[in-house]
Subunit: 174 residues, 4 copies
């Protein structure tokens, strides 16, 4: 059972497409998958689901519970301003600790419009996940210039497809 997380709430994002491709690939490999899309965060998330309000937003509590029950996460991480989208960490900040992360496993996929492939974003997330008790798979594909390597919901760059496939195989046995 793998829970795939689209790491941004931006609409019609490349991350959402890559998350869909990853889910299909994992299902074809025999895995049961769940999917969490940060687009589904309540519009007033920052005012109703964090800190003293943690647990009191019923719409968010559904996602929150799914995160506790998940065992293995794959996070699709787009690069925004040199790191991960702020909304991804804000989402983390609204979850249940330590139950969501402690003893869990996570794989990261970095994507970017530019050349970096979200390498710093994934470094920062690895620090955060490790701090929270989640083991992170070493294999972290860096898919740069993503717009040029994806079309019609498919990865068009065979190397990128291979990188994702290799990661998935490593993650299944992680």
């Amino acid at each position: 059972m793998i829970t795939i997380i689209c790491g941004t709430n931006r609409k019609n994002s490349q991350s959402e497409i890559v998350a869909g491709i990853y889910k299909k690939m994992a299902e074809e490999a025999g895995e049961t998958c769940d999917f969490i899309n940060l687009q589904d965060l309540p519009e007033d998330f920052i005012a109703t689901a964090l800190y003293e309000n943690a647990g009191s937003n019923e719409q968010f509590n559904v996602i929150r519970q799914k995160m506790v029950e998940a065992e293995k996460f794959v996070i699709i991480v787009p690069e925004y301003n040199g790191s991960f989208p702020g909304i991804l960490k804000t989402f983390f900040d609204g979850l249940i600790f330590p139950a969501t992360f402690s003893g869990k496993k996570c794989a990261l996929v970095g994507i970017s419009s530019g050349v970096q492939g979200a390498v710093l974003a994934m470094s920062h997330l690895t620090d955060i996940l490790n701090y929270c008790g989640t083991n992170v798979l070493a294999n972290k594909p860096k898919l740069s210039a993503i717009e040029k390597n994806i079309a019609d919901g498919q990865i068009t760059n065979p190397l990128y497809a291979q990188l994702l496939k290799s990661q998935l195989e490593a993650f299944i046995s992680f």
Copy 2:
């Protein structure tokens, strides 16, 4: 002119207290100060002020414009789950690039309930700020166990007071 940013939207935060102390200290040193509190972000910020909606939330545009006009930032950075609060990076993601950060200067103050003093949070933020073109002051106080070192709106630990004072002096001449 120094713009002091409280790096969380949590109500009644220690960060807000430290930001107030910093502002007073800077004003006593002869600096004009502005203050930005992430508590003032619109409740529907994540749905109305990011990505394709950038610039269309009038309430947020006031803050956005202040960030463009600022020259030097001091960010009070509490440690949440091993890094900075997600809301701080989400706030960044709604700002104007490159005008907000390019060629600007920033100082970071880390605070934590635990023992780390937000050291990883400040490392991650330095990566982000440098990526966005902002020079970051090397001097980054790490104020751990903050609840035990602050009372009645005052820093009670003389070492912490000295660390902030030394940083401010370095930042004024940065």
Copy 3:
């Protein structure tokens, strides 16, 4: 089989003591252990065992081969000037790639005289090890003020002893 690495070549280091304690603890848990001490690097290591000289220093080749054959590493990482000792990365730079690190597993123990417990050192090392294909255990004890918590070759702080024990158990099943 666990290979324990003392991450500095400093003589009579606290790291060496902690490495010895860890080895004993792992053996008592039923593990076979190997031990690599960076004190055993040849004195002219930087001139005879790196880059175009890789593989030509017979004294170092013995260690080099042990690193290839190892499956799981525990590295005791002291904090020197804000990160790991340079000699530890220099040692890495003389090893065989990708055979030494690819598909391996590693646990990190941070120690420091000061308050940080080598947290940045371990973050940097995690980046490096992940890049080289080694999965790093999330559980990374940070043993600060080490001189005050060790005596006569024993950990005197029960919390520190517990942190190491918990890590070892997690690493055995990693």
Copy 4:
């Protein structure tokens, strides 16, 4: 006065070429330059110039003193195994603290054979330099695929030449 450091002791390195180009560029801009090449480290550096031997290697003491007297450093940082060369940090570990780094200024140039341009190496170094009290310029060129963009001691990629020029200008006024 700018001190340019070739961040590796590998012979005939691309870093040395880039360091030479940088020195010439800085001199043409009217700066006095010094040059430190890690190739000049004594062969037994790790056994005679670190820790309890600090200050006792006369050959190294010449370099050590130059580092204390320097005001602004430019470090050419090649990417080795996911970060900076270990020898660069080992070199740091043999210097005089805090006099070498405290209150100084540094600019970093990342180079790599692969696609990353030493981005993680420069992130790690920024942590270290900031820890040691050195302000690091935000502008950090990432020169990837360096072998394809340099020939006969010249940068052949006009973008790379422009990136270095822009950095130098920013560093002179830093």
